[in-house]
């Protein structure tokens, strides 16, 4: 018996085991919304903006390992998801995003709310397609879920013209689909892997660089076994944070632009760099000519195109991180790395990662407070200084998951992603570390969080500035703070060099904001208030809590490597 496209849409979601969908209505998805009304089992979350919607789906996907599903209308609904698609594309987050579209016969007419979203999304999705025939619908949805979640995961967009949604057609949702141009790697080349292992085995100063691929592949335990067996030290990228538990003796820290001194020195001095699941982004490598200059480089990644793109590698291996590590673990034997570890420890002692403790509350103290307050937690950040402090001072690994916007660096990501993470894992506490700039980019989502009953704890570090850019202005642009002061009004002097007595009051008042949404607000200005505030916030289970930490505008993210400089040239003070 034939059914409508809208019925098949819901059937497909059910067959795929979708339990949550992030949707915003509009003229071209009313049929699909109506069909969702008639079913049970799929929860529809209504955000307040489509950009936040897709970040929520990203947070949900990262926290659960499932595919995040979005449903938005045509035109502005679709274009508002573009940032999130790009973000998910960079950070390999599996999403399936349905966009409504005007009926096929109106496409090209500049119809009301018509945009060529497939044309716009082509470069920022793993796959995107307009459904042009009702009989293709089931196959395309099946393809989308398959492509999004296999190989290197990523976002897939399906553009669904209105007439396809109502047209009758095949009721069957295919069980599997064969795509002749899409064959993700499901095995590992043992010969290459053996070669890589031999190189690692013969190294005197071996180093493992672990990226976000470890998390995507769920290879944390395999990595832990490998590291403990071989006794090789590990550095991580920002996305790889937590691949090894923070306190592990072989874990050095993050490398890269705001990495630990010891970690960057280790990269610069190692003789074998054994990298797994990383893209060698410019924030990791700095000046490519000076990156790991003495090292033979092994690169394991699921994405062929990530290998030998930014750095030339000696042993390329296309494989899933977990699969490769399991194979390596069959061979792993202890190495003598005591001397090398001592060298690394000496760098750490020379320049430990720490902030001043003499006057007032520092970001480090806030991060330490969060470390102490939670045994099990999902830690979600926005983008900026607080993100880097969170990557430096928060402890990850084990039951502490880290979710951040790594590749695209999307301000406004943090709060909605935290809501999505909480929706995916309601039992697990979710802390969103954010800044006053990034939070304001999607703070309308407080309504979503309250409505959906997601009591996330928002740790808002308020320094009254767009701090990361301000930091560059302070260090490299003669303290000309153009467009970074969030207190600035049009009555302020043009040559302002920083905050003072005469400054206008900060807007918004985040405590009043919390109150307006029936959420909780706590303002923290002193170190001794940090732990009590977090304790109080944990007690609120009905609605989110904003803890506004008032911090100094002068706090910098250090150490730092200026963009394009070698990683061994760190600004430490």
């Amino acid at each position: 018996m034939d059914i409508t496209g809208r019925k098949l849409f819901v059937r497909a979601l059910q067959e795929e085991g979708v339990d949550t969908i992030f949707g915003y209505p509009g003229g071209m998805v009313t049929d699909l919304m109506d069909e969702l009304y008639k079913q049970e089992g799929i929860r529809l979350v209504l955000p307040r903006h489509e950009q936040a919607l897709i970040h929520e789906a990203e947070g949900y996907a990262r926290a659960t390992g499932k595919i995040g599903v979005c449903l938005v209308t045509s035109g502005p609904g679709a274009t508002n998801t573009v940032t999130g698609l790009a973000d998910a594309h960079y950070d390999s987050i599996p999403l399936v995003c349905f966009t409504g579209q005007v009926p096929l016969n109106l496409i090209g007419n500049d119809a009301f709310q018509e945009v060529d979203i497939v044309g716009m999304a082509r470069n920022i999705t793993k796959y995107c397609v307009t459904v042009r025939e009702r009989k293709e619908l089931g196959k395309i949805i099946k393809m989308a879920f398959h492509i999004a979640s296999t190989g290197r995961p990523g976002p897939v967009l399906i553009d669904l013209p209105k007439n396809i949604q109502t047209e009758m057609g095949d009721a069957q949702y295919p069980e599997k689909v064969v795509i002749r141009g899409y064959k993700p790697y499901e095995s590992v080349h043992v010969g290459q892997l053996k070669k890589a292992y031999k190189i690692l085995k013969s190294a005197e100063k071996p180093l493992i660089l672990a990226g976000g691929g470890i998390h995507i592949s769920g290879a944390q335990e395999a990595l832990l076994y490998f590291v403990e067996k071989m006794k090789v030290p590990v550095v991580t990228t920002v996305m790889g944070k937590g691949a090894l538990p923070a306190q592990h003796p072989y874990y050095i820290g993050n490398c890269g632009m705001h990495g630990r001194y010891a970690a960057n020195m280790a990269v610069s001095r190692c003789d074998v760099l054994f990298s797994i699941g990383t893209r060698f982004n410019d924030r990791i490598t700095g000046d490519l000519n000076e990156f790991a200059p003495n090292a033979k480089i092994v690169h394991i990644d699921i994405d062929t195109a990530s290998i030998s793109r930014n750095v030339v590698v000696d042993v390329p291996i296309v494989a899933d991180a977990g699969l490769a590590l399991e194979k390596l673990n069959e061979w792993a034997e202890p190495k003598k790395t005591k001397k090398w570890m001592e060298e690394i420890r000496a760098w750490e002692e020379e320049n430990p990662l720490t902030m001043r403790r003499d006057k007032g509350m520092t970001p480090q103290m806030i991060m330490e407070g969060i470390n102490q307050s939670f045994e099990e937690v999902t830690l979600v950040t926005d983008v900026g200084q607080h993100q880097m402090w969170a990557s430096q001072y928060l402890e990850y690994g084990g039951k502490k998951q880290f979710i951040t916007s790594g590749g695209l660096g999307t301000m406004g990501f943090g709060f909605p992603a935290a809501i999505g993470a909480k929706i995916g894992n309601p039992e697990k506490p979710v802390v969103c570390i954010t800044g006053d700039g990034g939070f304001q980019m999607n703070m309308q989502e407080m309504a979503t969080a309250v409505a959906e009953g997601t009591p996330v704890i928002i740790c808002l570090l308020n320094n009254q500035y767009l701090g990361m850019v301000r930091q560059m202005q302070q260090l490299f642009y003669g303290k000309r703070y153009e467009a970074t002061c969030l207190r600035k009004r049009n009555t302020c002097p043009a040559d302002c060099k920083g905050p003072g007595e005469a400054c206008p009051p900060y807007v918004p008042d985040f405590m009043a904001f919390a109150k307006a949404y029936n959420a909780h607000g706590i303002r923290v200005e002193r170190q001794e208030e940090i732990l009590p505030a977090l304790r109080e916030a944990k007690g609120y289970t009905d609605a989110p809590t904003i803890i506004e930490f008032i911090i100094s505008s002068d706090e910098l993210v250090l150490p730092m490597v200026k963009g394009g400089n070698p990683m061994s040239e760190m600004i430490l003070k």
Partner: protein, 165 residues
């Protein structure tokens, strides 16, 4: 940096050409020519692509193409014996009778057809290699004031192996 050739089998679907060509602009790859047409299997199109790049970039281009869902197969034709032709029409305008004579001679030397002729113009139809077409254009440009060129981009196919003859 040198010219390299790729034969690309893709799904014959709306948007695939835009996706492939979009890759070259998005990643700043230097695309020289791209032709496309359906194959013996109507659901498949074959593209002949010429790019100018160094070795590392070329490897990256092949990988980027390969990971597109719509791309079925990437064949590197750079160092493969192949047959390659490009269609080119060259119109020479404002010629004197003597100049027309000369164009005829050039046509003979380059082994191309005279497709049409007017009182003061000649139309040449050429199926040469891209390089030979470049040479012909250079020659016409150096000799005549007004020429009009339209060219189609090269298509290429692997030669039949000697063992199969």
């Amino acid at each position: 940096m040198k010219n390299r050739w790729i034969a690309l089998y893709v799904e014959n679907q709306v948007g695939v050409l835009a996706k492939v060509s979009g890759l070259f602009s998005a990643k700043s790859y230097n695309l020289q020519s791209l032709t496309v047409g359906t194959t013996e299997d109507e659901s498949v199109s074959r593209m002949t692509i010429c790019v100018t790049s160094d070795d590392i970039t070329f490897e990256q281009i092949k990988k980027q193409l390969n990971r597109m869902v719509e791309v079925i197969k990437v064949i590197d034709l750079t160092n493969v014996p192949l047959h390659m032709k490009e269609i080119l029409f060259a119109k020479v305008l404002n010629c004197t009778t003597a100049e027309k004579e000369e164009v005829f001679q050039i046509a003979q030397v380059f082994n191309v057809q005279v497709a049409d002729i007017g009182t003061d113009s000649v139309l040449l139809e050429c199926k040469l290699t891209e390089r030979r077409n470049n040479e012909l254009i250079a020659l016409l440009r150096s000799k005549y004031k007004r020429i009009e060129i339209v060219r189609g981009g090269a298509v290429a196919i692997e030669s039949i192996s000697t063992s199969c003859r």
